[in-house]
């Protein structure tokens, strides 16, 4: 919803899609792959990040199925097996998340992630993902040169987040470190709706990555992007919930609270509308109206939380 505030008229659409994604009894299938480090320091770093992602996702609730492959187990065959098992279980309303950590390469034609044994190319990965019937898919490729994988992976209803904007950004990346941090940090949930979306996690990691290079006085060698900078990319990522932080679903299940829920939604829409008209509204008038709506919303939420 943070993005919704920026796009203005796309707001309602995003709200509804997000709500749909959260309300349905859908399962989220996740696989995290940590590739070869090349040296012990990277090896350890990649494995640690992958484990942290896996732990976070496993703790997110019963409707999340998470698998993690690292070290010698991170082979193409094992990865394929995991995705085949997902393909058997998943349904159209489900979601699939693939996260890649490690060193990647791009030869100008195809991208590959460096893993024990034969590497996996972006084209092969795309074919594996196509076989999973989950209707919403997210690939978070955090390797070097990951921007080179976008073209092969892109398709409708699949969001592709990459640590680099092209295949030519070949230096080891730090984006994964902050992506992991974003999943664990409530600060990433900027709209405070207790859900961290892919877009929110992306923005968190993107900002932290930029700050890392600024602080270290180093020339930035990675520039994260969504769908290779496609303007529609953030829309899909915004409606892709990654983690639920609170009890957002509980009220929705209580029929007695439907009226309050409707009121809350109405108030939220009024607030969004007022914010959209902020520039055209006199400051005092804006504040007065906003205060009143926010107070009403707070009271409604308090009722809902009883």
């Amino acid at each position: 919803m943070a993005f919704a505030a920026e796009v203005g008229c796309g707001l309602k659409l995003v709200s509804l899609l997000l709500c749909g994604a959260l309300c349905a009894h859908a399962t989220t299938f996740c696989v995290t792959l940590a590739g070869l480090g090349g040296e012990p320091d990277y090896e350890q770093r990649f494995t640690t990040w992958a484990k942290e992602i896996d732990q976070t996702l496993k703790g997110a609730g019963p409707d999340v199925k998470s698998e993690m492959l690292s070290g010698p187990a991170a082979t193409r065959a094992r990865f394929r097996t995991v995705l085949e098992s997902f393909a058997k279980e998943a349904k159209q309303q489900d979601a699939l998340i693939v996260m890649l950590i490690g060193h990647g390469s791009f030869d100008g034609t195809d991208y590959k992630i460096n893993i024990p044994g034969p590497d996996i190319s972006a084209t092969e990965l795309a074919a594996m993902l196509d076989r999973v019937p989950a209707g919403r898919q997210l690939v978070v490729n955090m390797t070097s040169a990951s921007g080179g994988s976008v073209h092969a992976l892109q398709k409708p209803n699949r969001s592709v987040i990459t640590a680099t904007r092209s295949g030519s950004e070949k230096n080891a990346t730090v984006f994964a470190r902050y992506w992991v941090e974003g999943l664990r940090n409530a600060a990433a949930d900027t709209d405070k709706n207790e859900v961290i979306t892919a877009l929110e996690a992306f923005k968190y990691a993107e900002l932290k990555t930029k700050q890392f290079y600024d602080t270290q006085k180093r020339l930035s060698t990675e520039h994260a992007s969504i769908d290779g900078g496609d303007q529609q990319g953030p829309l899909l990522a915004a409606r892709f919930p990654l983690l639920r932080l609170g009890s957002i679903q509980l009220a929705a299940k209580d029929p007695a609270k439907q009226e309050l829920l409707a009121k809350r939604e109405h108030l939220e829409q009024q607030i969004d509308q007022l914010k959209f008209q902020k520039a055209a509204t006199p400051t005092d008038e804006y504040k007065k109206q906003l205060s009143a709506l926010l107070l009403d919303l707070a009271r409604t939420q308090a009722e809902l939380d009883k």
Binding site: A187, D191, K192, N193, S291, L294, L295, A302, D305
Partner: protein, 723 residues
Amino acid sequence: MRLLFILALSIPLAAQTVEECRNDEHYGRRDQAKQCFEKLIGSHNPAMQAEGFWGLRKYEEANKAFRLAVAGAPKVPGYRVRWGRLLLERFNQSQAAELFQEALQIDPKSAPATLGLALVASDGFEHKAVDLANKALELDPKLTEAQELLASLALEDNTPEKAAAEAEKALKMSPESLDAMAILGTMDMLRDQKSTPWFDRMLKINPVYGEGYAIAGHFFVLNRRYVEGIQYYRKALELNPDDMGARAELGVNLMRLGEEKEAREQLLQCFEGGYRNALTTNSLTLLDSYKNFVTFKTDNTIIKVHKKEADLLHPYVEAELKRAIATYEKKYKLKLTAPVQVEVYPDHEDFAVRTMGMPGLGALGVTFGNVVAMDSPSGRKPGTFHWASTLWHELSHVYVLTATNHRVPRWFTEGMAVHEETAASPDWGDRLDPEAIRAIKEKKLLPVAELDRGFIRPTYPNQVVVSYFQAGRICDYIDKTWGYDKLLDMMHSFAQSVSTAEVIEKQLGMKPEDFDTKFIAWLEAQTKTTVQGFDEWKKKIRTLNELAKAGKQDEVIQSGLAIRDMYPDYVEAGSVYELLADAYLAKGDKAKAMAQLEKYSSIGGRSSELIKKLATLQEEAGKKKEAAASLQRLNYIYPFDEELHRRLGDLWLQQGNTRGAVAEYTAVIASKPLDQAASRFNLARALQSDHRTEDAKEQLLLALEAAPGFKPAQRLLLEMSSK
């Protein structure tokens, strides 16, 4: 100055004409000189043409003509030397040096070429300038310009007796040496004599010799007497408005004192007149960039910060500046009559423009009268720069310069400034570093009476850094032995324009040599363990880092504890404290890890990462007050850290320091956080606790505007509405 040099050149045929032209110049007959140079252009000899163009300030043409001259007579060293001198005048030191070297390959005994190299070295305040000038004189004992250079170098080194002797020698060689007269006149004025005969003598020979006053300007600026320096540059320009070098210096020094409008006018005049050296162009660029700076004024402070970091930095800088002013007012028993201006540059290159053309380090901050320019902490890697320490250092200069009316040797004002850093807080200032250890061990510290030389013209790498250290320790020693008031007495003695030797004798009652002996003994006793054990420590710290890398925690602890106190001041990356803390943490012993990091921090360790780690351990151990103090230290080192301010805000709020919490949460907002809602909400909580209800409501509204469904903020809104 140039006259005799020209005589020494072996330019065929038209030599007489060049001599005549320069002769006219020497006596200030500008119109005749111009006509003479114009005639030279008509010569068939490209070297003569070059001299003609040069005399008429047609530098491009002169350059081309010299190229032809050298191509036509590649074995004539004199052409290369003259071409080199042209390039030197036109700010191209490196190619000038190449030409002098080439001339020396042709004639290894070329005195003018050797002098050329001495001038290049002199431009960069290099020690070898003195050796080269002496060598040039050996090669040609009649080379007055080399003798004049020696006088100038001696005065730059703040050895006036030597400078006077060298200038007298120059006058013996040439009774009409205008520069020797200018140097002697400058020395009289630096000593605050009411008048000097030397400038009159100089003007009798050449009534329009503005260059003589420009020499005075140079030395007054070098002695940080900027106002008088500016006056001399103005005088130089009155006599010779075409002296763009003097005009550029006038512009730069006006800029140093904050007179930006006139500075720009003067520098623009230089730029448009083709005088485009790095100092002029970079200063103009810097002046242009001031539109991106925001100025904050109070009764006694003016703070100029870049707009991109003004919100965050300004409150911290202003608070610290006011605290330092209040402290120094008492310590120096002096109230400044004008506000102190502090300029903070996020781009180090902009700051570097402020120190261009100045000898010494000036790597972090620089003071011009009441104006302090310094790097912003954002311009450096976190942990490498203590901005508050630098601010206090520079402000000390403002007080010392004011108290002495700018009549103070470099070593003393730097020594006081270094002393004040650790006096403000023991963990501030610089630690005993390997360069200083080596200098103590190898007996490379300078006698106090010659310490200025270490700042102006270092003889070995890092001697400037060592000189800062030595000067600071001398002031520490005097403070400890005679008391702080003795330092003030010395400061006031320096104000009478007396030498270091005289001040030491008068105030400390001993010869400078005796002082050196006592000081060195004190310093060696203080640093004995580290200096004696340094080589062994160096080997062992390397091994310790290897053990840590291999994860051998027990061995790290055993070896680390054994060597830590051999060199306790070492708090850089890979310090014993850091390795010990990591090893203890790996073994789950948080208390011991915390103890190591506490020691690290108290000694002056500056790594943001380690200090935040320490604060976490302290918080976990329930030592919230100590945790807050640890994080507060980081505000003085690298405040561009949203997490730091949030954590410190939380700690202050928990401890009831509501003002501190408001300040820290305000800094979070100034950091432009991603999480606007939580940041505004935290500030609202702190403001409410500080009984600033209306401000709290404002922030709460902003929090909920960003995230209307933010439940903690909704609860606070309901709570505040019900009151």
